[in-house]
Amino acid sequence: MKLHTKITLMVIPLIALPLLAVGVLAYLGLWQKSEQQSQIQVENHVANLADDFNNRIRDARLILESLANDSLLKEYLLTEDEEDRYALMQRPMLRNMAGYQSANPDLYEIRLLLPDGFEELRMTSRALVNRHEDESQSGFFIAATNQLDNPEPFIGINPDNNQPALFVSKAIFLRNNVTESFNSQPRLRGILSITQQTGRIADGQLPPPWEAGRVMLTDRLGAAVIPKGEQSAAPASTVHFEPGSFTTATWHQISVAGTQSVHFALQLSNNLYLHTLLPAARIQESARQIGALVLYVIGLALLIAVPLLLFLLHHQILKPIGLLSHALNNLGKRQNRVQVTQVGNDEIGELCRSFNRMSIDLFESNERIRNLAFIDSLTGLPNRVLFRRNLERAIANSQREQKLLGLLFLDLDNFKHVNDTMGHPVGDRLLSNVAERLMQNTRASDLMGRIDIDDLSANFSRLGGDEFTVLLPHLENSLQAAQVAERIIGAFSQPVTIDKHQIYVGCSIGIAIMPDDANGAEELITNADVAMYQAKKSGKNRYHFFSQSIGEQNKERAKIEQRLHHAVEACNFTLYYQPIVDSLSHRVSSYEALIRWSDERLGPVAPDRFIHIAEENGLIVPIGAWVMNEACRQLKEWHEQGHTQLRMGINLSVVQLCRPDIVQEISNDLLKHGLTGRDIYIELTETAIIQGENQVLENLQKLRTMAIEVALDDFGTGYSSLSYLKNLPIDILKIDRSFISALGEDNNCIILSAIITMAHALGLKVIAEGVETDTDLMFVTKEGCDMVQGFLFSRPVPADKAIALQDASSAISKCI
């Protein structure tokens, strides 16, 4: 089960159950409390009604008492003559009564009744017209006479105004001391009665919120004391209380007209009861409302609390945990730097921070480990692999930012020499120095933005040897790349001091711009490289933008390369032969086999257009093999034709010479065609030997053991250092045609003469190339040149013409 589900299943009951328990308890408690409260309220109200009622009775009785003690009243009642009473005493009596009334206006009627019920005196403050003078049948009078010693208060309808009224009466007993014996019992002389309003007790109503209930007055038997139809609000007839069916001062349930009601009764006097009836639903209503409110609040609390808590839990705990878990996963995958957004200051936040620290440490150590593989240990710059990666990233960035991306391809102009003359340790230190200088000089602020300062080293790489690259990822225009290049070249104009040696290392820089010059990383590198070679070609120590024309050359080169493959497969080459003539006998002593390639699409392709390509892509090996085989075959043919003295000069590329089994292959070819080592010699360029590694020298030694001579071609164009000639395993020196053609200039004659003399001193045979005129011939012959080669005798020609020249030369020499 997921943590989320677990927590949810845990939290909901944890909150819900106590809340519900509290809710139910509160509901029940409040219900009961509220019901009690309601009952108490109603009881209080009823008690107030009863108090009010009793107060009225008490007030009335007080007045009755003082009236009864009034001497005028006593005299009045003892005056038997009507005329005396009415003419003389009635008015003061009435004024008396009026006085009491004005003291208590509620007592709106005070009456004096004679024992027979005749209304003797009546005083009312309500301007009520008197309807009856004979009250002997009136309820209050009957009630009073029924209990003369202490008449019950009577509630009934006052016939004068048809209103319920409260009658309080008092019987007056007097003894006429004039006519009666002192021992006789006082006789009933009259009944004083006060009428007043019943007050709220008789209106049957309860105040809000109990309007649905009612109060009613009954006698002890349960009969309503106010007759049917007279009590305003309450239809008393709907309730009948059986005698003894009600208890007082307690609440109990009864059914009224089918409605469940609660009943509460109070005894007001001996025969007067005040009943309170309320629909049971009503008294429970506020309880129900409060209960409902409690449940509502609890429900609301649940509705709010549970999602809130879940949300908080989710947000504060589960989400960070999820994030951490996710981050840990990512960490496992060793992707980028993994960081968790920190959450709060709590333990989880602390955990996140710890994780982040750990992640950073891990990332950095990973970076270090990774860098070890990608960093050039000598310079600390990214190596070729990392360069490719950085380049890809920079390309993606520049495409996204729609900026130009420049690639500077930098090659030291003089490194090889330094390495050769001062040794690898110095070379290494020079490289490291160069790297430092590169980075220092491109940090300047005017270049800012073109080079990633943040990740400076990402923009530099050492591809190997003395090749460096600089990436310019945020160029606005190509001119900015030129500025950087100028800056770098400027920096390298200062000498580098190593071990007190001041070393001048210029550099050539090729610049290619993306997307102007290239569509992809590969093309960008190639084009920068091309541009760099262009810079070198145009004089070194300068920068050169990749240009379309270089591009064109490149295209041509690609075309040639492509066709070259075809040519190799189809052996689409031929060999031309140029005779090399003995300077004295003028007889052809050997031929130099020169390759010719005529492509069906490109037409004739000169060797200087395709040989270096073949050398670069390795096709030179099969081509060389073919040349070797064909030259040998031709030579054998010629030998068989009788020209057994002829030798063949065959060019070998340094690429071929670097191969360990080249000697074996040559040997095989010789064997195959029944030739010996003396029948051929091989021609090498100066650079091939100078750059030659041990394998080359080793191979040369082997060839010489096979009696194959080695000729140094084009002497005079390279270093032309005579000092090292003695150490090289060569037998023949071929002086470059440029010497011969410029014999007339400067001291070329002298130099040439010295070369020839020195070569001879070293035991080398000398061949002069490019002899085109008789003068040339004369000169080189005079200087002791052993053999000559040149247009004077023949251009390179096909085999049949070449051999014809042999015959001709024989003829010439014979002529001489």
């Binding site: 003419a87 009635q90 008015r91 009026a98 009546r122 008197n130």
Partner: protein, 224 residues
């Protein structure tokens, strides 16, 4: 021995009352301009008796229904009555100040008050009124009856009686004195109402005790 006789009527301010008052009911059932400006008397006999007259009943009626009607009439009139205190006769009188616009008055009193205001009018209503007579009575056990008789003789001398009548504006029962009175006194209808009015007027007559009780009860409600 009769001393003066007179009537009970209504004195009113002709300048403050829209309609001339000619009937009792104008007093007992007053028009708006009179409401709150009525003066009555504190005498239950007069209240009930004149109330009966205003309803067209006998001054001495014992009829239960007629008395009930008077009770209702007096109760209905009560809110409009300014005072049940009998009229003051000098210039402080309510009818002079205007607090009262109409009031019950005895004929001679009315004529006395008229001296203080020109717009005061006294009228004996057409329904008739109560005619009264003031008597001197000599107590049976009086200590100086001779002196009393001398005094009564004196005030019954025609000149003296005429002079007193003129002073209090009451009619004298002394015919010799009456002969001496000037014509404008004898022709004053306030003092001598016209015959039609006299014929409708009554003296108070003895009534039964229960009727008395009833009248007392009625007036008590109004006055106490």
């Amino acid at each position: 021995m009769p001393y003066f006789w007179g009537t009970v009527g209504i004195i009113y301010r002709s300048d403050l009352v829209k309609e001339p008052i000619t009937h009792w009911h104008q007093l007992f059932n007053p028009a708006p301009d009179l409401q709150g400006h009525i003066g009555m008397v504190a005498d239950g006999q007069d209240l009930v008796g004149l109330g009966l007259k205003s309803l067209g009943y006998s001054l001495n009626s014992e009829n239960k229904h007629e008395l009930n009607a008077v009770e209702r009439l007096l109760i209905a009139q009560q809110p409009h009555v300014k005072s049940y205190q009998y009229l003051v006769l000098d210039q402080r009188s309510g009818v002079v100040t205007g607090d009262l616009r109409a009031s019950i008055a005895y004929s001679g009193d009315a004529l006395m008050v008229q001296e203080h205001h020109d717009d005061l009018v006294y009228v004996v209503p057409e329904e008739g009124t109560n005619i009264w007579v003031d008597y001197f009575a000599l107590g049976a056990k009086a200590q100086t009856p001779e002196l009393a008789k001398k005094f009564l003789n004196f005030i019954n001398e025609p000149e003296v009686a005429a002079q007193m009548a003129e002073y209090v504006y009451y009619a004298t029962p002394n015919q010799a004195a009456e002969a001496l009175l000037p014509d404008d006194f004898k022709n004053n209808q306030a003092i001598y109402p016209p015959k039609e009015v006299i014929s409708k007027s009554e003296f108070f007559a003895p009534i039964t005790a229960r009727a008395m009780k009833r009248r007392n009860a009625i007036s008590a409600q109004i006055l106490y």
